[in-house]
Symmetry: C2
Subunit: 572 residues, 2 copies
């Protein structure tokens, strides 16, 4: 910015130097010198910033390669496939007749070569089917147009319109989305064969040579992509599901931790309020589990095309169940959102209350996260559940929390505002009235005693502190916090007192909400376990035997097979 | 199935007929007759089922066209563009030199022609930039290869590998995703120019003619797509955001309604438990708002490419703010998920309690939904908020609910299990003990009085009914409900009683949770209103004047302009 301003100033100075013709030579040369010096500096700055940007790009590229080396492998494979297809075209002699159409081979390699095997196969099949069916249709239409004689141009143009209309309309149908590419290829092939055939009257030659070159390109793409370090969409899906489990576990732990540490959320990041990506690990944990839905669907769409490989040994492998399992987990993650909402909320339970339930809340959190991490490991290792009930501990912890909430529920309510007294006073008989007032006094005395045991006055002070803290926050960061402030401004003194009491009571209920949500979280875990059991049955997960099977989930391919084979050869 | 079995049986019979050579002619002809009859029936069945399927496909196509006529227009436009480009190719004379490359023009039309203008422009630009830069690079490399003489093949192959590697690697970088297509075209053009140039030594001719034909195809595609009934991604985004508001409002109302009507959820659909699409309007309402995230991002990615049009009059129109507004709404929708979770949960508040808070809960629900619908209309009509505080009523309703919860919080707790008495008994001084016991009796008396007022016994019965109902449900449909059943089986009589009391208390707290969540929903509305205000400022929404402006949001295009112009001509 500073350098830009400098350059602008220099420009203005130089303009002045030229326009004021009456100025002395000394002034002129000074301005000239300054301009020269400035433009040098500008060039230097530009070079520096460009270098810096290049270094940044390079760093980012290295970082991406380190975090996922498969990306480097994929790029190298793409380069290799292009070399192979170029070399085939360089061999002029055997394919001399096809030279007009060699572009289709390159095009097919570029288009079909996708990151995962499933995507490559699916695109390849789409392309193959599209080309074949369009080629057949175009040949039939060409025969028809020969019969039509002088009306052939009209027939061809009309057929192009009709086919263009039907294919474009069909691909907009929601269930046709995976075949969108096929429709495109169909359209392209049809138009190409019709137009080219019309020009050269070699319909069949065009269609056949186009088909062979596409087959050549697809063959090269498939062989290079599948045989050299294949990247499987199914494996990605598998790992993604396991990762989601870990993320939700982190979120759950983080929620409990920051709830119990009574972290003062002075600023609710506006990114969280508008559901954008943010750095908060609690938030990004459940967000990634919820957001991964579309990625999972895409991966499943590709995984179903992949042949049995590595640990996924059966045809019709139950990829759908992986997505279901992740869906069940998402059902839990929604509770994590609400738990996080309790932390971000303006209505907060007082610190003493949280302290009172610390042990129980913590235990449910720890046990819940443990279950999720255990399931993540089971998914990763492809292992069935053992004979021990995985949910036993977390259920016990939840029961303890429930019974503690039950026994201590008097701290969750604000008995001062109970209206039973008032109602009784109105409805009660005169002779009962005195007794009742006496009783009420005793109840109040009793309440004050229980308050003393729990030091509810300090609770109230705490709440006051919280509201004071909130009002210190600058306005742009407390978007969600403006409501009570507005109320207390709108109303006069008496209702203000009442409102503050009401909020106090709401703040106490906030803990009940948090506990209820946590219990609901635990209840939903059953559903996750059921989904896992269904998956482990259908996918034939192995029985748990304590052995690590992480090696079994490693990628396989011709390279690896060769390795294994050469080792076997060497040992025999 | 029956016919297939019939056919199978017929086949078996016929095989027997042939193999048993000793059988009589009469038997043989009978089997033959039967086979003939059966195969006729099979053919008839096949024709019927094919016809039925065709009718179904046709019906679906008509239904899709009726629900969104723009799809028909798009398909017709695609057909038109293909006709135009074919006719241009039929005019042999002026473009005779380009005939080898005409396929690029068709390819460009097919590839660039997308549903919305933004997508078309973005793809067109990607294609243009990719072709230009790759063409330039390829020409430079061709000059280099001329200098390399006998090493030219090595140089070309090496350059293809390096470019292939770099382009494939770069397109995997997350922020490069919108330009993925550009990288593909870059790669394709580079390889094509290099290979074709090497064969014919006409690098420049290849690059230039390819460029002109791509420009021709892109020109035809853009002119047809933009000038005839354009379909704007921005408008889709606008409508999607308004629709999301209505969906969340429907969900909120539905939640409150089914909570108050105490609908017995005997079967939690497994689709909801695994977060798949389901028919439940409450569920599909918030789900669509949450799921639309990726669609919004995609539409925003296209909308930023679109020129000012219709009511979106400024360059750099704040499409990002539409997405932010929808994100803020999503933050509310997460609460709707939790509210729905309360309804689906196994722990349910007794009917009497819900009845007690019916009026307040209902009012918050109605007012909340009204705010959401009002915002939907404001977004749709592109109108600013009026001087009246849109949240006033819903805040008032929430305050009423809060204060009612505060006054009646004794119904939310289970005072029988309070442990204050026990603790006091242990810690208390002997002379205090008697007083305390006396007090406790009175408290219990007091409690029983309040119970009488609310008829808590019936509440308890209700809970019992609920659990009985739950245990009637077949096991596959109560996945989430197995936990308490397990506990009551595991434990013996005494703890079972305790557990049942604990659940009773949890069921009472469930209402507190529901109310708290509802209040949090209201608190988050402020955030939505803020996001709306920011959008309405940045997008220059008009001041509210009571006039409907729905016409302003109608699609525009050359067609419409011509209409308006012709009307103006006619009237002058």
């Amino acid at each position: 910015m500073a350098t830009r301003l400098g350059a602008l100033r220099a420009k203005l100075v130089s303009v002045n130097g030229y326009s004021e013709l009456g100025s002395s030579v000394a002034e002129f040369s000074e301005a000239d010198q300054q301009r020269c010096c400035c433009s040098c500096r500008v060039i230097c700055d530009k070079i520096t910033s460009t270098t810096r940007r290049l270094v940044y790009v390079f760093d980012e590229a290295v970082r991406m390669g380190k975090s996922d080396p498969r990306k480097i492998v994929f790029a190298a494979k793409m380069g290799l496939a292009l070399i192979v297809i170029s070399l085939l075209i360089f061999l002029k002699e055997p394919v001399i007749e096809l030279n007009r159409y060699y572009v289709w081979a390159i095009l097919t390699v570029v288009v079909v070569f996708e990151f995962s095997i499933g995507a490559t196969l699916s695109k390849g099949l789409n392309r193959g089917l599209g080309t074949l069916s369009a080629g057949g249709l175009a040949l039939a239409m060409a025969e028809l147009s020969e019969l039509a004689r002088e009306w052939d141009e009209v027939l061809i143009v009309t057929s192009i319109f009709i086919i263009g209309f039907l294919a474009s309309y069909a691909k907009l149908y929601p269930t046709m989305k995976p075949y969108e590419y096929g429709f495109r290829v169909f359209l392209l092939t049809y138009c190409n064969v019709m137009v080219s055939g019309y020009r050269t009257r070699e319909f069949i030659h065009t269609a056949v040579s186009r088909f062979w070159l596409i087959a050549l390109g697809a063959g090269v793409g498939l062989v290079v992509n599948i045989c050299i370090y294949p990247i499987w969409a199914g494996e990605d899906l598998h790992n993604l599901v396991a990762k989601n489990f870990r993320n939700v576990a982190t979120s759950l732990e983080g929620c409990i931790k920051s709830y119990l540490s009574c972290t003062e959320i002075k600023r609710v990041p506006s990114k969280i309020l508008t559901y954008q990506a943010a750095d908060d690990p609690v938030y990004s944990g459940y967000r990634s589990a919820i957001e991964s839905k579309s990625q999972e669907d895409a991966l499943m769409g590709f995984a179903v095309w992949e042949p049995p490989h590595g640990p996924y040994k059966s045809f019709k492998y139950p990829w759908k169940n992986y997505v279901n399992l992740s869906g069940a987990l998402r059902h839990c993650a929604f509770i994590a959102i609400s738990l996080h909402g309790c932390i971000l909320s303006e209505i907060q339970a007082p610190e003493d209350q949280r302290e009172l339930f610390r042990h129980e809340l913590q235990r449910v959190g720890i046990e819940g996260a443990k279950v999720l991490r255990e399931l993540a490991n089971k998914v990763k290792r492809m292992e069935k559940l053992g004979p021990v009930d995985i949910l036993y501990e977390v259920h016990k912890a939840a029961e303890e929390l429930l019974s503690k909430v039950d026994r201590k529920s008097y701290v969750l309510v604000n008995a001062e505002s109970w209206e039973i007294g008032t109602r009784e006073k109105v409805q009660g008989e005169p002779q009962e009235l005195l007794n009742f007032v006496d009783e009420e006094n005793k109840v109040l005395e009793y309440k004050s005693r229980s308050e003393a045991a729990l030091d509810l006055r300090s609770v109230r002070t705490d709440f006051g502190v919280k509201s004071r803290l909130v009002s210190d926050v600058p306005s742009e960061n407390k978007i969600q916090m403006s409501w009570p402030a507005r109320i207390s401004c709108d109303n006069n003194a008496m209702p203000q007192l009442k409102t503050s009491k009401t909020y106090e009571s709401a703040s106490a209920l906030s803990l009940a909400t948090f506990a209820s949500l946590l219990i609901e979280f635990v209840a939903r875990l059953q559903n996750v376990v059921n989904a896992f059991e269904e998956l482990s049955e259908k996918a034939n997960f192995k029985e748990p035997d304590g052995q690590s099977a992480e090696e079994a989930a490693q990628p396989t391919g011709l390279w690896r097979w060769l390795n294994v084979w050469s080792k076997a050869e060497a040992s025999s």
